[in-house]
Amino acid sequence: MNRNTPSDVDVDADAALEADPPTEGVDGTDDDFEAGAQYDPDLDAENEATPCSYTDYRSGETVEDLPATGEGATGVEAAVWDALYGVEDPEMPVSIVDLGLIYGLVVEDGHATVDMTLTYSGCPARDMLQDEIRETVADVDGVESVDLRLVWSPGWTIEMVTEQGRSDLREFGLSV
């Protein structure tokens, strides 16, 4: 589809990222109005200044143990985590691990199993991102085969983003 939405974060997630917009200058005091204008609180209440009807942004619940971040991993698994940290979201300079997309990683006898999710069911970068992750993991010394499993439960929310991820997204210009 010819759309300019970010490839990996849908409009809803964007809305969540932009929750709590700055409210400077619209605090309802007379200072906000041109000199000479009459401030009529009743009128204002009637014509509530809501350019967008969406003011209720859901940020989601924290899920224990998610996202997986590889903390405490050793051996080949640690090396795979290092490699995964190097994979970035296709549209934002944030690692897919810090974005909270990786739900689990197990390496047994050279076979790596990765559980991951996507922020958005309609993510157009799905195939591209999955291919990149498979190749990245397969390139790690000690990994012979990769099984990448896409899971949807629990659903990704903004709460899955790590502190590092939040910092990277803020640096990018998103208020999280």
Partner: protein
């Protein structure tokens, strides 16, 4: 999570596999075909915001269709076979979603959007505890995205029905309700009675179609009436289908479906494709 999944397609009896397939095709096909129709509004919606919103809904529905087609792969199908190579009469969507929009009528798009999304909400709730884990696992993700759709539809319904606007909005809504309501009832039409019974006995869905239809009507009818609209509903049984309206669920569709399918499969056929398109080839 996938690792917690216990029941798989291999554990099912032949009848249960058929029932699961029927359930999934219904879910996937509704979403896919509705998205095809929504995209017709791209760059044609009344305002930039409504254009973006409906386009985003279309993308959501395509994503949801894909989640269900993914599960169908457990039953031995591939996505490209299901979308581009399946015969028209093997599609199981409700005829509500395949109807063309008469003369660029935005009210038609909004009424359809509303009637469908209330049904979708009830249908997903009935899958939350599905005995087939891959069904239950996907529901939460879809619900989170569908909530916005319903809010969007209701918001537009209210605006179009606004008395103060005095611009004929409500008349258009009424015409769309009269036109679409008989088709909306096919959302609750059975594939066949045996299949529905198996879907329920296997615990794939924890409500009957009659229950879903009743719940749907108990939300939709008061809402429409509250907007000053008449609802063309029978006194006794909301599932009273007009015998002249093709149900879709049984493979019987309106002529508009053949045209729509012809259109979205034409490039695939012209290029002689035999697999789904990838955006880019892997680099050497």
């Amino acid at each position: 999570m996938a690792s917690a999944e216990s029941v798989t397609a291999d554990d099912l009896s032949a009848d249960e596999r058929d029932a699961l397939e029927a359930l999934l095709l219904r879910l996937a096909d509704d979403e896919f075909v509705l998205a095809e129709r929504y995209t017709e509004w791209q760059v044609r919606s009344p305002t930039l915001e409504s254009d973006l919103a409906l386009s985003n809904n279309a993308q959501d529905e395509l994503g949801h269709a894909r989640l269900w087609y993914d599960v169908l792969e457990d039953l031995g199908y591939e996505e490209h076979e299901l979308i581009y190579e399946r015969e028209a009469d093997a599609w199981r969507h409700s005829t509500l979603v395949e109807r063309p929009f008469p003369g660029g009528d935005w009210a038609d798009a909004i009424v359809r959007h509303y009637l469908y999304d209330v049904a979708e909400k009830r249908r997903l709730e009935a899958l939350e505890d599905s005995a087939y884990p891959k069904l239950a696992d996907r529901v939460g993700k879809i619900q989170a995205e569908e909530r916005y759709h319903l809010e969007h539809a209701q918001n537009w319904m209210e605006r179009l029905a606004d008395d103060d606007a005095d611009d004929g909005g409500r008349e258009r809504l009424q015409q769309a309700v009269d036109r679409l309501f008989p088709y909306a009832l096919t959302l609750f039409a059975p594939v066949d009675d045996e299949t529905e019974a198996t879907i329920e006995e296997a615990g794939f869905r924890d409500a009957t179609l009659e229950e879903l239809a009743t719940d749907w009507a108990s939300e939709v009818v008061p809402f429409l009436e509250g907007l000053g609209l008449d609802v063309p509903i029978g006194e006794d049984d909301v599932l009273d289908l007009d015998p002249d309206v093709p149900r879709g669920r049984d493979g019987d569709h309106t002529d508009a479906w053949a045209d729509l399918r012809e259109e979205f499969t034409s490039t695939y056929r012209e290029l002689g494709r035999s697999g789904a398109t990838k955006i880019m080839e892997k680099p050497e």
